[in-house]
């Protein structure tokens, strides 16, 4: 029996086993997946929790429900990967698992302890995050009775999961405080290490204009050095200070410690892999998918979905002794919630930055690219249902994995 071992049963790992189980002969291939926690979180839903739009129940389900028959699920943290011995050691009972092929899908998480002042006595009092379930719930409680003031959203360092989430947070906050009748008592500020609202120029301009319309100020190229939780201010490396009453931080994101312990990571514990095939350049039987992969595209569930589609086909070729094709093009596709029941959509890849247009049908849509519409908002809201019922289960979605230029325009 050959052994395929998948580490991490989050978005990417779960999709991989669901895609590959029907493709691999059950008499020849054993598939095992390992995760440390029983609960699967729908992380995109964390964004809506602070504003009371989603509750905890909307974003949690047991991981087991998504693991197909014929795949073994082991619950344990992974201690270390030993690539020279083609095996992995689990924390639980020090058990070893051998593999013929390994897929690393251990994701990324936040590290507030890396920024002085952040996770100290004001943590969850005047400083919150919404990238964890605990943070999102605590912030929801705080916002319910908040009387207004200066709300600063700060991204500590890029890359982060879902690079548009901080913008969405601000635009939803603008709407939320309108609804609460206190928008005139709230200042909204976005302190970002980027030079503008987004990473790519055309989208940055479009999104920047929307922020101006909504009265959200941007403090660009702001690289936070420390937070002074008593004076309630952020201090940057170039000695700028930004004061706040309420700080919503997106702390440093990093791959799991396991990657560093195993000597497989880069400076942020992401696994360097080929950006078209996800194969490690060092080990011919190790792949990394999802947020764990060190590839220059967004860390997003949609990317993981397109990536897994490409990977599954390629993996079949690879085990048949064929060369892998450079199929993955960096395709990312993100709904951006913009408040007041509207949203935007961006669709891009390694080569093409987000452009205005229509998606997925050229000229028709129904979704509008880089422009606000109610349809995009419904797309985002539908996404949760699709995530649980279609994406995770590896069922086909009528969207091509590779990006298409038709329906997009350059101004």
């Amino acid at each position: 029996m050959k052994q395929l071992l998948v580490l991490g049963a989050g978005t990417a790992g779960t999709m991989v086993v669901n895609k590959l189980r029907p493709l691999l002969d059950a008499d020849e291939w054993k598939i095992t997946i390992v995760d440390q926690h029983e609960t699967h979180y729908y992380q995109p839903g964390f964004l809506f929790i602070p504003f009371g739009m989603y509750s905890k129940n909307d974003v949690v389900k047991p991981k087991r429900d998504f693991i197909p028959p014929g795949v073994e699920l082991i619950m344990s943290p992974v201690e270390v990967i030993e690539p020279e011995h083609n095996r992995v050691r689990l924390v639980k009972e020090g058990r070893y698992l051998n593999y013929d092929f390994l897929v690393i899908a251990t994701g990324a998480r936040t590290h507030p302890e890396q920024t002085p002042g952040l996770q100290e006595h004001e943590w969850n009092r005047s400083i919150y995050d919404f990238y964890t379930i605990e943070g999102a719930l605590a912030l929801a409680r705080h916002l319910r009775t908040w009387q207004g003031g200066r709300l600063v959203v700060n991204v500590v360092e890029n890359p982060i999961k879902c690079p548009v989430a901080p913008l969405e947070f601000l635009m939803l906050a603008d709407w939320f405080f309108h609804e609460q009748g206190i928008r005139d008592r709230v200042e909204l500020i976005y302190a970002t290490p980027l030079s503008g609202a987004f990473t790519k120029p055309i989208a940055s301009k479009h999104l920047g204009d929307i922020l101006v319309q909504k009265g959200i100020q941007v403090e660009p190229e702001f690289l936070v050095m420390e937070v002074d939780p008593d004076a309630k201010k952020l201090v940057s490396y170039d000695e700028r200070e930004v004061g706040y009453d309420l700080l919503v931080t997106v702390p440093l994101n990093m791959g799991d410690e396991l990657i560093a312990r195993s000597g497989l990571g880069d400076e942020l514990n992401y696994v360097p892999v080929n950006k078209h095939t996800f194969l490690s350049p060092k080990y011919a039987n190790i792949f990394a998918l999802g947020d764990a992969a060190g590839v220059p595209t967004s860390k997003a569930g949609s990317v993981a979905h397109f990536a897994v589609d490409c990977f599954a086909e390629n993996f079949e070729r690879y085990i048949d002794g064929l060369e892998m094709l450079p199929t993955f093009d960096g395709h990312a596709n993100c709904f951006i919630e913009s408040g007041f029941g509207k949203g935007l959509l961006i669709d891009f890849n390694y080569e093409v930055e987000p452009l205005p247009g229509r998606y997925p049908l050229p000229g028709v849509g129904p979704f509008t690219l880089l422009q606000e519409s109610e349809m995009n908002h419904w797309g985002k809201m539908m996404f949760r249902w699709m995530y649980w019922n279609i994406l995770l289960k590896g069922q086909p979605l009528p969207l091509p994995a590779r990006m298409s230029m038709s329906g997009k325009w350059r101004q």
Binding site: E157, N158, P159, P163, P193, L194, S195, T199, K200, E221, L223, M225, Y237, D238, E267, L268, P296, T297, S298, A332
Partner: protein, 106 residues
Amino acid sequence: MATRTIAGKTVQVNDEGFMTNAAEWTREMAPELAQGEGIAELTPAHWKVIDFCRESASNLDGKSPTLRQITTGTGISTKELFALFPKGPAKKVAKISGLGKPEGCV
């Protein structure tokens, strides 16, 4: 695409003043490029960073390293980097080292 004469040689630059062909860069150009960035004199510490960036770009398909790659690779802290190259160190070093603008992120 514009050109510019640095240390007596003509090189290609983009509209933000970043050289577009890293191969055209020579060490003699660095002091003049640094002056354009408000750095009067290049000390050995500056050179350590410049050398690191040149080397790391040659391993990264010509891409400029990120700030974190520089701090991890050179052992120089972010704070010191800001002292050496005030304001935006990653951008400034890239310019002085004849590399493209750091792409930042996705």
